[in-house]
Symmetry: C2
Subunit: 284 residues, 2 copies
């Protein structure tokens, strides 16, 4: 069983950060910290970071009576990414290997995460992601799978990153179902965010029925679970999906940037590394 | 009243880090996290970081049955600092303003803190502290006070930093009482650490009767409190002393490096800045 002990202090930090985004008073912020610590004490041993995040951010929403503390940040991220979109398309168009370029771009967009850190530098991260080596490189296998399937289930991560996903999806030239969250959690993409990123014309947007990061099956809709089980190929973006799906059998490729020491150690790579990782083979 | 909400996640991180230093199992580490969260829930609103640290690190010591999780780290820090000592003395000897140089050196040593972060780079921090401007600069007032007093009460911070303090004390040419902790807490200096740093020939080493960082009067010995009340001039090293003494009247000068955002915001300076700050005037 994996343990995620370093996530405890991180989620306490996240609770405080999210509370402040809502403009909560210091008194309220402290109350949220106390409730978060109470909640974290009762989370079962071995709970994954997405399970913790689900509880912690629920507390913040309830206590601040704010349905979506990250609403403004998500809109900003999408706007910033859309301004980059023509440049990203040009990068793919002029690349020697357009698919690899589009995969790199999709991973670069994974920096837009307001859970792992409170801020990010999109442009410098993009420059780096286009140049750096993959720390885990199953790109060839991914390309092979993409060629052999007719449809792809694409598990989205964050708002704004959605625009980078759009660039990859437009390059895939396959039937894509783009899976977002059913309600706001951190800055994870919802339908609204996917639509704002211009994904509607290029993918079938659905939600997974859940308001947790990653994919927690116990909370997902039967429709989503069926799609997952029948998928020919699943592209899963970001740490949350790796944390919640790394032990789940299926034709999954994880595309992510390691944004904290916990995931880096887990994958035996360095913080800041980028990854295309095929899930361990296993019967479904 | 000041609040220190950002310290909650930080102390959870510290508890985990200290537990790991003792070689505690993951199960024990988790137990320490849970107990720490329980303790932090019951710490009074407005408790200062040293008050929190006192409780948190007590839990780690008790749970791991390790009297001093930082014992090896403290010895290492002292050894590393002693290797630098001849160079530091040379810096003072050749400086245009030897006292300012010695003050800078004493502040540079304040980077040796295993509470605020898990590691530090002594040499690059020293280079920086010798060159950077003081973000708060009451050095002239400090010089004036040093000239006018016959004795100084010097409140020590961390082991290893003790060697840097020794350089300043040797430059002061005054009767100095060097105050350490009565028992191990984080990497704060105890008598053993002060002696190892070579302070015995140049200062009267006493402890304050307490095993908390900074100076928590309620836990200090009557002897120390009397010395504090009668002191002509008090030099207080590090964040812990500022956090616990900033509202206490007295002829105090705080010498510190801002090692986290909390103290930086509190002092309205940037992280990494160095400070010589005279305590606000107030009747004693």
């Amino acid at each position: 069983m994996k343990t995620w002990l370093d996530c405890y202090p991180c989620f306490l930090r996240q609770a405080l950060s999210a509370a402040r985004r809502t403009g909560a008073s210091e008194k309220k912020q402290r109350q949220i910290l106390l409730l978060t610590m109470q909640e974290l004490q009762h989370i079962p041993e071995g709970a994954t970071p997405p399970e913790m995040a689900w509880q912690v951010h629920r507390i913040v929403r309830e206590q601040t009576q704010t349905g979506d503390p990250f609403h403004g940040a998500k809109q900003q991220a999408t706007d910033e990414a859309l301004r980059l979109y023509p440049h990203l398309k040009q990068l793919v168009k002029t690349a020697k290997d357009p698919l690899e370029m589009a995969v790199r771009i999709a991973i670069a967009g994974n920096i837009i995460d307001l859970g792992a850190a409170d801020s990010y530098d999109l442009q410098s991260n993009l420059d780096r992601a286009l140049a750096q080596d993959f720390a885990i490189n199953n790109l060839l296998a991914l390309k092979h799978e993409i060629e052999s399937v007719s449809s792809i289930l694409y598990l989205a991560d964050n708002a704004g990153e959605t625009v980078f996903d759009r660039v990859l999806i437009e390059t895939l030239k396959k039937t894509v179902t783009y899976v977002v969250k059913a309600g706001p959690i951190i800055n994870d993409a919802t339908r609204e965010d996917a639509v704002a990123a211009g994904l509607e014309p290029v993918a079938d947007i659905i939600d997974n029925g859940s308001q947790a990061p990653g994919t927690l099956f116990s909370q997902c809709s039967a429709d989503f679970r069926q799609l997952f089980e029948q998928a020919e190929l699943i592209i899963a973006k970001g740490q949350g999906h790796y944390e919640s799906l790394s032990d789940v059998p299926g034709p999954i490729f994880f595309l992510l940037k390691a944004k904290c020491g916990v995931i880096a150690r887990n994958l035996d790579i360095a913080e800041g590394d980028i990854v295309v990782k095929q899930a361990n083979a296993g019967s479904r």
